[in-house]
Structures are given as C-alpha cells and as structure tokens.
C-alpha cells in the first residue's frame, strides 16, 4: 500500500482540532433549570462556556441495560445528519426514575443500572449494580463545533453594520473565541484534491472512560491486534471506508469497513459504547500499557493507581449519538449490541461450506472444468465465483458473450451437482449511453451529484463511471428491481451476489474514494454519510434478492460495511497478501468483526495478492476451515491456485482441511441459528467465555466456536509445535477439560501447553461438557448432505456431564420462521443421553443418528440401551483408545429418545 495516498491525523483538519482539545480540555456545563424528565428519558441544555453556544442533551434508557446519549445543537443553522438504517428498528424504551436532583448532580436509575449526571463540568457516570463501568466526558474532551456562517467581508451598508455591532454586543466574550483559525476549517486540500467544505467546521468529539476495564477491543476494521493499543504518539485508529490496495498489518489505517463500537473489559465488568456516526471518525485509545517509566512513577508515588482505559471518538460531522451498553459480562454486552443493530440472518448451508473463487475464471469451460476437477479429486466444493471479467466490459447485470455465451447452461450444470454460482455486482456504473443501466440512471437523475448539480463522474474498473445514490429509496427500489429474473434473464434464483468496491472505490478520488462534498439524497453531503454508502448499496441488493425469490434466503458478500450491515451480508477481510503475518491477522480481524456483529467473516484463503508457497497455502486452508466464511480467492495476476496444481501431499492436506470443515457444518449451522436467536457471536475471543482469566485477554491467535471448540491454527512457518493457551474459568487457574478432536486425548490443565503438529494437524479441541453434532459422511457439496445421518461427539467434564444443541431445517428457505425446523438440546448425565426439543420439531427429515462418540468415560460400558416411545432396545458399544462409540442408534432426528449406558 502507498501510505501517501491516505491521510494521517495531522493531515485531517478536524482530527487535528479535536485532538488539540486533549491538551487543554473543554468547558461544557449543564444549564441549571433546563432539566425535563420523562418516563424513559431526560433532556437538558448544555452550554459551551467558552463561546456560550447552547446544545440540547438527551439521555434515554433502553431495554437491556443500555442507555442512549444524544447531543445536538439547540438551534442549528441547518439540520445535522442523523444516521438512519443502521439500527435494526426503533429502540425499545426502558423506564427511568430520578433518585436525586440537585443543581450540581442528577442521579437516575433504570433496572439495576444508575446514571449520575454531573452538571459543571459536564460528565455522566454509568453504574451497573453500583459499579462504575463507563464515564462519559471524564477527561473533558467533549468538543462540538456548531455550524457557522463563513466570515464575510464587512459591507459598507450602515444598517447591516449596526445589526452586526448589535450582535457583537450581545455576545459576552470577544468574537475571537468563536473563530476557528485552523487552516483546513473552511476548505482543505489533500495532494491534488480539493474539498470545498461549504459548511465549514462541524466536528464532534467525546471521550469515554472504562474505569472497570483493563483492556479495550472493537472498532473494526483494522489489521491490528485484537486488543487495542494506545495511540499516544501515533495516529488514532481510523474509521473511514477506503479501498486499500495490499493493506499493511499492525496498522491503525482505515480499511474497507467501519463499525464504531468499542468494548472495555476487565475481570469483573464489561461494557461497550456504540458511537453512531457515519462520517469519517478517528478514535484515540489511552491505555495504561506498563513500561519502565510508568512503573517507576508508580513506585515513587507509592500508589498503584493507573488511569482507566479511555477512548476518544472524533467525527467530522453529525451529532453525538452514543449507546452505552452496561454488560456486565462480555456475552451480555455483545447481545446488547446485537439487540441494537441486529444479527446475520441464518444463511443457507452452502454459504457456510467451501467456496472456490478467482479473479477471474476465464470462460464457461473453465468454470465447468474446475467444478469437475473437484469431483475428480474428491474435494467437496459448494460455490463457484465470478469476478468482474464475466461482464460485458464491466457493465454489471450483463455477460461477456464470447467468454460466457450460455450462462444459464453453465449455471444449470453447477446446480445439478448441488452447487451454486455467485456473481459480482459493483456500484460503479460505466458511463456508456448504450448501457441500459446508465441510461436509466442518467435520465432519472439517480446518480450522486456534484456540488454544481451534475452527475459525479469518477474513475473505476469500467473507466469513466458514476455511482447510484443508494440513499434515495427510489434508487434502491430501482436497483432491487434489476435482480428480477425477467430483467436479469441470464441468471436463476439460485445465483447469489458479491458486492465489492462499495466503499465506494474511486481510483482518481481523494484517498481512492469519493470526494466529501458530493451531494446525496436529502441534500446531505458525502462527508456526513460516507461510511454508510456500502450499507445502503447492500440494502438495495438484499431487497432485490428477496423480491426475486421471497422464499429463499439471500446470500451477499460485501467488502464495505457499517454497523448493521450484518443483517444483509457476510464480509471478508479484503485484499490480503500471501504472507504469514496476513494469515495471522485473518484470525485477529475476524474476532474483532465477530464481537462487532459480523460473525460471518473470513479471509481470502491463499491470499489475494502474491503466490503462497505450499506450506503457507496448507496452513491457510487449515485456518480458513475454522473461520465462518471459507473461500479461496486470488488476484488476476497470481498463478492458478486450484488444489490439484500443487504437489500431492499439499493437495491431500487441503482435502483434509476441507473435509474437516464439511464434517462440522452442523455445528456452524446451529451456531448461526443461535446467533440469530440470541445475538451470541459464532466465533469468540477467549475473554468472551473466560472473562476472569487475565492471561486470556490478549490471546488473539486462538478462537472459540461457540463455547464448544477451541481452535489454535498453525500460522507460523516451519514449526513442529505450537503454544496453545488453555483458559482458566476462574482466577485460581482451574480450567475446563479439553479433548483433541482427532485423538480425543484430554488436556486437563490450564495455561500454555506446547502441542506437536505436523502438516496435517489442525489443533482443535472440544470442551469437556459439550456435545458437538457432526456429519461425517462425505458428499461433493453440502446441499447433497441434507439427508445424511449425524454423529454426536460427547466430551464429558469433570462431573461426567455434557450438553449441546443441534438445529436443522431445509437449509434453504425461510420456512424455518414458520416453525419448519428442529432445534434440539442434548444432555448427558448419569451415564444417560437424553434429548429435548425447543418448541415442537415440525420439520420432516430423513436424517438420523448413526453414531455417538463419548470421550471421558472412566469405565467402559458393556452395552447400551435406547428407549424410544417406551420401547427399549439393546445397542452395541465399541471401545476405541480414548472413546466409547455407541453403534448405530438409528433414531430419527425428530424423535424423543434416551440412551442409557450399561456397565457389567
């Protein structure tokens, strides 16, 4: 990447100004006597004591231990932008009670939470069960630039002069205090690009301290460690959707998505803040990273007090609209965030299987031959992907007639094998009057406009291109209608979508994206809504796929995303490079995305840029097999990379990794259903399930799949063993039992353990006390596995118990929302396995249970008996090294049963 193409904080005017506040602090105060209280909220006025500008302040209590804080100008010159469509629906109001109210302090309670509002200087402390978890404006870094008129040359008209003098007299302080003299306040240049800034400075900034926390994490998307680092002396973390070519790792640079949610975690409490603002945002992080100097200072002063971690959000425009989520546990906080912005819908099963992609498969024969080769080498594969070269000169919704003369026949050949096709549709539209889409958008005025009212023209893959204004619901409706099968006649209802380059990417724009002074629907500037453009593009595509086939669940992959985009699409980490550090950051980035709502995250397996060697490719497949989105993808200039083009051993390693992924599809599918049900992330950092283990806070090369699997992929070159951290469930180093999923060898102690690995080994453990469903029969695609039987892997805990769940339905349609599903819990206790259904099992399935594997039994049972509808039957029990296998229970998935182990 060329860092010169992208701004630093010093080059960004509002970031400079907002950061300067950290040195002096600001002076905001509540105006006495302006308090109004309602059943669920309170309002008051704030005043900036330096320029005496007044602001309206509102604090709402929401259901689920959440508060919403909004600050806007009381009388703005024009409305300031409020983010729409990011929340999944209107917020649900809670109830508040004013406990105490004095001029200096207001105390309100809601559920078991408390908020203390300090009037002068303005500060809000949030308590959960009387523990202070979030403190707003504790450092007095609130900074709200009210809208201004640009300074005019004094006129010679005496009447106007009198009015001006009269206004000057009304202001108690000299006018100089109200002037912002930063050179970039009213117009800004970056390289050769000019930002006219017609409305001048309008930044907002606010700090949030987390007194009960030790670490901060969140605010994807950055190629950095999971735990946020202090930004003292460096640039802040940036949230500004950009098209970054070959992004660098261990960087705070903005990447393709921006999700402004941050979490503070300590052993006792976890809290989160969602900063709802779609403008460019920088986030300063202050943590007490211990070093020699701070240790010495603490020693000399004799105190152990360290400042709590804090985050300083600085946005270029908009209002303060923050949601404070009070936890108290990590999973509670993630669920509170999911209650606001929503979750992924349950995807079709093929989306969770293996995808094969490349920029670009050359023609129809190439697609067909790649699909046939996967069959020849017995490697399962579900979806073929086509990039921009399949179109007629980058005109989306068309096909290149020479390379793909019969797309419907090609699609039929794939779907007959149970496979799918995904095609790309990007938001840039080729400016060609013979292109129907461009003609429609031009005639109807659907494009984003320049300041002068013309269609904005930028440069992207098609050459000269314009961009539809998806903020206009009419444009979204038009865009959605293009996916109808009577219009997009060359695809079927099974073909799914890939929305790329929707940051939006403009090759000749400032920072490779659109200029900030473009005008969108409602006369909003692009400056106000930039991070939301990709989200609005998704809304159009999602509506189109739903209208095309209302009964089928859509699948979209997107690059740009904002809070709430998880309701419509999966994401991937963008254009990575074939290097071990990028492989390592795949896991870190996806963990950060998962806690910010985007569980459906993956990285380009094998890397987008560069040519991986065989070892890197093997390890990348093994890592990708345990990230929720599993797709191989590569740049057009890389070598062909299908598994059979590598030595046989590499091909076998890849095949084993893919087959292992397919065997765990029932677990992934159940996890995504439970994500939609509860909001709990599918992949989790260790601290999500083990919040008390301080050592686990910073572990970001391991991940949990729900609370059942611990995955530590091998992501270093040439290693024969890896260090695995087994977390402790309390602060006395007591840990769970973990069973190796290949050998069922048990790991009983917590802490770091060195585990030997070879080429074929993926270090994965199943937690003692969990039950994991698997499908161990192989098929060429996951859609053909629908009726195959299940295996239940039971790993016992110290008490000899285990539990788990399984979800199944038709894996394709929305019928599960009308109850056509089976959601079943399994419990193993006292040498007996029983199932219990959540709701009634209304889905008719041919699937059954073919095997039950039990690890951790102390004695070997002689036999087992199964009881179904009161009738008992003997089952055979096989004993392997570390497990006991109950042979062929044969019971169907929708039948109540009990399996009892019998001991001699």
């Amino acid at each position: 990447v060329d860092p010169g193409n992208f701004k630093t904080c010093e080059q960004s005017s509002f970031c400079r100004r907002s950061r300067k506040i950290q040195g002096s602090g600001s002076k905001y105060a509540l105006i006495p006597g302006t308090l109004n209280t309602y059943a669920d909220s309170l309002t008051a006025d704030l005043v900036n004591k330096e320029n005496h500008h007044q602001f309206a302040f509102k604090l709402e209590a929401l259901v689920g231990s959440t508060f919403r804080l909004q600050i806007d100008e009381k009388q703005p010159l024009r409305p300031r932008y409020r983010v729409e469509h990011a929340l999944k629906g209107p917020t649900q109001a809670g109830r508040i009670r004013v406990q105490r109210e004095t001029d200096g302090e207001i105390v309100i309670t809601s559920e078991k939470n408390k908020a203390v509002i300090h009037g002068d200087p303005f500060r809000i402390d949030f308590f959960e069960n009387d523990v202070l978890v979030v403190s707003v404006n504790a450092k007095n870094w609130l900074y709200f630039e009210h809208l201004r008129q640009k300074a005019q040359e004094p006129t010679s008209h005496p009447a106007e002069n009198e009015n001006q003098q009269e206004q000057d007299a009304a202001v108690e302080t000299p006018k100089a205090a109200d002037t912002i003299d930063d050179p970039g306040a009213w117009e800004e240049n970056f390289k050769s690009h000019h930002d006219s800034k017609p409305y001048g400075p309008e930044a907002v900034a606010l700090d949030f301290s987390f007194p009960a926390a030790k670490v901060l994490f969140g605010i994807p998307e950055h190629a950095d460690s999971f735990i946020l680092k202090s930004t003292s002396g460096t640039d802040p973390y940036r949230l500004y959707n950009l098209d970054v070519f070959e992004y660098v790792v261990d960087s705070k640079m903005a990447l393709y998505g921006s999700v402004p949610v941050i979490y503070g975690h300590g052993a006792q409490r976890t809290a989160g803040v969602y900063w709802q603002n779609a403008a460019e945002t920088w986030v300063d992080i202050q943590t007490s990273e211990t070093n020699v100097v701070s240790s010495l200072v603490n020693f000399v002063s004799g105190s152990q007090k360290t400042p709590p971690p804090a985050a300083h959000f600085m946005s270029e425009s908009g209002i303060v609209d923050a949601f404070i989520m009070l936890g108290p546990k990590p999973m509670d906080t993630f669920k509170q965030y999911a209650a606001l912005t929503g979750t992924h819908e349950l995807p079709q099963l093929f989306a969770l299987a293996y995808h094969q992609s490349r920029w670009n498969y050359n023609d129809e024969r190439d697609v067909t031959s790649v699909s046939a080769k996967f069959d020849e080498y017995n490697i399962p594969m579900d979806t073929m992907w086509l990039d921009i070269e399949h179109t007629d000169g980058k005109r989306y919704f068309t096909w290149d007639k020479f390379k793909f003369p019969h797309p419907l026949a090609m699609i039929k050949n794939l779907t007959e094998l149970g496979r799918h096709l995904v095609v790309i549709v990007d938001p840039h539209i080729k400016r060609d009057n013979n292109y129907f889409f461009h003609r429609d958008c031009t005639d109807r005025g659907y494009y984003v406009k320049t300041r002068e009212g013309n269609d904005y023209e930028g440069w992207c893959w098609p050459g000269a291109a314009s961009y539809p204004d998806f903020f206009n619901p009419v444009v979204r409706e038009y865009y959605a209608s293009q996916y109808a099968l009577d219009k997009f006649q060359t695809v079927t209802a099974d073909v799914m979508l890939w929305n790329d380059m929707n940051e939006p990417s403009v090759f000749n724009g400032p920072e490779i994206t659109a200029p900030k002074d473009l005008i969108h629907y409602g006369n909003w500037e692009h400056r106000d809504v930039h991070n939301l453009y990709g989200h609005m593009h998704l809304m159009g595509s999602f509506a189109g796929l739903q209208q095309r086939d209302p009964n089928q669940r859509p699948f979209i992959l997107t690059r740009a995303h904002f809070a709430g985009s998880q309701r419509y699409a999966a994401i991937w980490t963008g254009d990575n490079f074939a290097d071990w550090s990028h492989l390592q950051h795949s896991v870190k980035m996806c963990l950060t995305e998962a806690v910010a709502g985007f569980s459906f995250c993956g990285a380009d397996v094998g890397a987008f840029f560069g040519n991986p060697d065989t070892e890197l490719l093997e390890r990348w497949y093994q890592t990708g097999a345990f990230l929720p989105f599993f797709r191989a993808h590569a740049h057009i200039d890389t070598k062909r990379r299908e598994p059979w083009l590598f030595p046989e051993r590499t091909r076998q390693v890849i095949q084993n990794a893919v087959i292992k992924r397919y065997s765990y599809l029932p677990l992934w599918y159940t996890a995504f259903y439970e994500l939609e049900l509860t909001g709990e992330p599918v992949i989790r950092p260790l601290l999500a399930q083990y919040p008390l283990d301080k050592e686990a806070f910073g572990v970001d090369n391991q991940l949990l799949v729900q609370d059942r699997l611990l995955v530590r992929p091998v992501m270093q070159q040439g290693v024969s063993k890896v260090d695995v951290y087994f977390p402790a469930i309390d602060d006395k180093k007591n840990g769970d039992w973990w069973y190796d999923v290949d050998t069922y060898q048990r790991q009983e102690r917590s802490g770091y353990v060195s585990v030997p690995v070879d080429d074929f080994k993926i270090p994965v453990w199943q937690r003692g006390g969990s039950i994991v469903p698997k499908k161990e029969r192989q098929r060429r695609a996951s859609t053909l596995m629908l009726h195959d039987p299940y295996t239940l892997i039971i790993c016992l805990d110290r008490q000899g118990k285990a539990s788990g769940s399984l979800y199944l339905d038709d894996e394709k349609s929305y019928a599960y929302r009308q109850g056509q599903r089976i959601h079943v819990n399994y419990e193993f206790a006292h040498d007996q396995l029983v199932n219990s259904f959540v709701g009634k099992p209304k889905y008719k399935t041919l699937a059954w249970i073919e095997r039950i594997v039990i690890a951790g039994l102390e004695k070997v049972p002689s036999s087992a008996s199964i009881t179904v509808n009161g009738v008992s039957q003997q089952l055979e029990v096989l004993h392997h090294d570390n497990t006991v296998v109950v042979r062929k229970p044969g019971v169907k998935m929708d039948v109540d049963f009990a399996i009892k182990l019998n001991f001699a």
């Binding site: 060429r780 053909l784 039957q873 062929k888 044969g890 169907k892």
Partner: protein
C-alpha cells in the same frame, strides 16, 4: 645325497565331519525323519471317523448360507436409507420356501471378482477385504461403517468415507478383460448420475439416462 619328491596320496584328506556339504545333507535327512515321525504321531492322535461324510448336512449348511445372503440382498434392495428401522424392526421377512434354490445374487456395488468375499465365512462373519477385521455378517450393508480402512463392508451405501461403488455396467472386451469402473462412495444416492447406467442412484427417484457403451 639327492633329494627326491615323493607323491603322497590323500594329501587333502578331510574327515567326514569336516565336509560341510555332507553335514548339510545329513541335517536335511534328520529333519525329514523327524517330520515323518511327527506326522505319524499326529495321525495316530486323530479321532476315529464313525461314519463317512454326511452329504445332507453339507447341503443344508450351504442352503442356510445362501438364504442368509439372499435375505441380505433383499434388505439392500428395500433399503430406505434411514437407520430408524433398527428401533422399530419390521415383522420377520418372508423366507424363501425351504428347499428352493436361490438365484445367484451379487451385492450391489461390488466387483464380480469379490463375489465370494461377500458371503459369510465358516464362522458366519464378514472379513474386511483388507483383512483388518471381522464383523458379524448382518453388519454388512447395514448403513454403518465398520471397515473404516477400506470401506468394504458398505459397498452399497455412502457410510464409509473410503468406500467404492462398482457400477452395475462394466465395459468388457470380448475376451472378458477390462478394468472395473467404480465411483467414490460419496456419490451414492446423491441425485447426481455418476455411473453411465445410473446404478449409483439406486434409491433416489433420479431418472438417469443410460449412456453406456
């Protein structure tokens, strides 16, 4: 005095016990003698046979084996792909009339070469084709994989990851030579026609065209 050379007879004389070839032959002879003696002793230990072979017994034994194999074939033909029947077993299957000779049946998905391997052995069991394990004969084709190394106990189903399904149609040269065509077990009953005669879709309703020859 003149010294004369005197030729001495048997200058390379060796006693018999130093001649290796003779000792070797003697050893073989002794081993042979001991073997014959052992055989004579063993024969003497055999119990007396009170009567000649009972031909009827042999025929009955063969009949039972063929009946067992035949009923297994019918199980496979009627197999619905689900294992739930094991919980609620159907009524006893109708046995063929006693004394009626069953026609020869080949287990679906096996090679003709392996015909005899898919009959119960004298213990009434099935031995995996790689010889690694013996399983009860009723576990053959019961939709559960027991021979995990080679998948040979489930030739008709996809229960074994490493199994092979040999298509019913096997192209042969007029002299009878030719390779056996098979598909991976993961292709069985997946609604995709892989054998040229569609024989891998034996329990789905998929209509497979016959593209053989």
């Amino acid at each position: 005095m003149r010294k004369t050379w005197v030729k001495r007879e048997n200058i390379y004389f060796k006693p018999f016990y130093k001649q290796k070839s003779k000792m070797f032959l003697l050893l073989i002879f002794l081993v042979g003698i001991s073997f014959i003696a052992y055989q004579a002793f063993s024969l003497n230990q055999l119990p007396g046979v009170p009567a000649p072979w009972n031909l009827q017994q042999i025929k009955r034994k063969h009949q039972q084996m063929m009946q067992s194999l035949g009923s297994k074939q019918r199980d496979v033909d009627d197999f619905d792909g689900g294992g739930a029947d094991a919980v609620a077993p159907a009524g006893g299957e109708t046995s063929p009339v006693a004394g009626h000779e069953d026609p020869i049946k080949i287990v679906r998905g096996t090679r003709l070469f392996d015909y005899d391997a898919y009959k119960p052995n004298f213990e009434g069991k099935f031995r995996c084709l790689d010889g690694s394990k013996e399983i009860p004969f009723d576990h053959l084709n019961d939709n559960y994989c027991d021979c995990e190394e080679d998948g040979s106990d489930e030739p008709s189903t996809n229960a074994c990851a490493k199994g092979r399904f040999y298509c019913r149609y096997q192209k042969r040269h007029i002299t009878g030579r030719g390779l056996d065509i098979y598909v991976a077990s993961s292709r069985i009953n997946d609604h995709v026609c892989d054998c040229c005669d569609g024989s891998d879709e034996w329990s789905t309703a998929t209509k497979c065209p016959n593209d053989c020859a």
